[in-house]
Symmetry: C2
Subunit: 168 residues, 2 copies
């Protein structure tokens, strides 16, 4: 029944709806899972999760450079100010920027060798971390979870509802 998480949170009342319970659980789980990962990135390389994700995105796009807008589109948590985020990475020499010749409005961002080297040092952890944290539940439920999350993500509703439906 719905009371399991409720008890974890020491709430007296159960949830108003199953949907609310799931959203709470989603927040809770994501936060708890991300916590040790954020700590690792911070202690080892003074990186925030967003900064790390941007580096991953840029490595994944190589050798193509990406415009700030393109980076923003691929981020997990949209950042309204990619400029500053990239600024900090550029100050540390992890990425570099070049004005596009064709369209001089856009700035193409690419990961540097220093950035690649830093990511490489993290790759071993990136490999071990997920298994250590959520490996317990086993491959079967892992697969189910992947599918379900995908379902939710691909058909997110809007709020407040504006008549339009489905993912964009």
């Amino acid at each position: 029944m719905a009371t399991t998480l409720a008890r974890t949170l020491k709430q007296t009342k159960p949830f108003a709806s199953r949907e609310e319970e799931v959203i709470l659980a989603l927040q809770h789980t994501a936060a708890r899972v991300l916590e040790p990962w954020a700590r690792l990135l911070k202690t080892r390389f003074q990186l925030t999760v967003s900064q790390y994700n941007v580096l991953r995105i840029l490595r994944g796009a190589r050798p193509t450079r990406l415009a700030c807008r393109e980076i923003s589109d691929r981020m997990v948590a949209r950042d309204p100010d990619v400029t500053r985020l990239v600024d900090r990475l550029a100050d540390r020499g992890l990425v570099d920027r070049v004005r596009d010749r064709g369209d001089r409005r856009v700035v193409e961002v690419g990961i540097t060798d220093a950035g690649l080297a830093m990511l490489q040092k993290l790759d071993a952890d990136v490999d071990r971390f997920p298994r250590a944290v959520i490996g317990h539940i086993g491959p079967r439920r892992l697969g189910q979870l992947a599918t379900l999350l995908q379902d939710v993500l691909s058909d997110l509703g809007t709020f407040p509802p504006d008549g339009a439906r489905g993912g964009r």
Copy 2:
């Protein structure tokens, strides 16, 4: 299949492991789901999600007051500085604080009538929001998701693995 989210993220390479895929999906889904909710809280009441959650916690505990530490324990995302968080709520008259007589170290925090009134104005949205955003997937998968998230949460691994306990 593992490539679906990969395509969403426009990554060229698939994930190193199923676990990594799930963690990414978890982040992604939680962020996307929380986005509109955070916006609503901000625009309507200048509240952050953490602040709202604390108010919910305090309402749920009524008529018992909670120590800062107890609040921290029940929060979804642990905040290392509950004092400041409560400060801002107290400045706006949404909560109040009282030194415990028995143990004069602790400060008991309670929600005020103004805080309750604000929560009440949000209750209708709290009720509609979850359904609007993730209602599409239907009760069956909703139940599965609740169970799976609960499983993950109740058996989270540690990272880096701490040789002191359990594993080694």
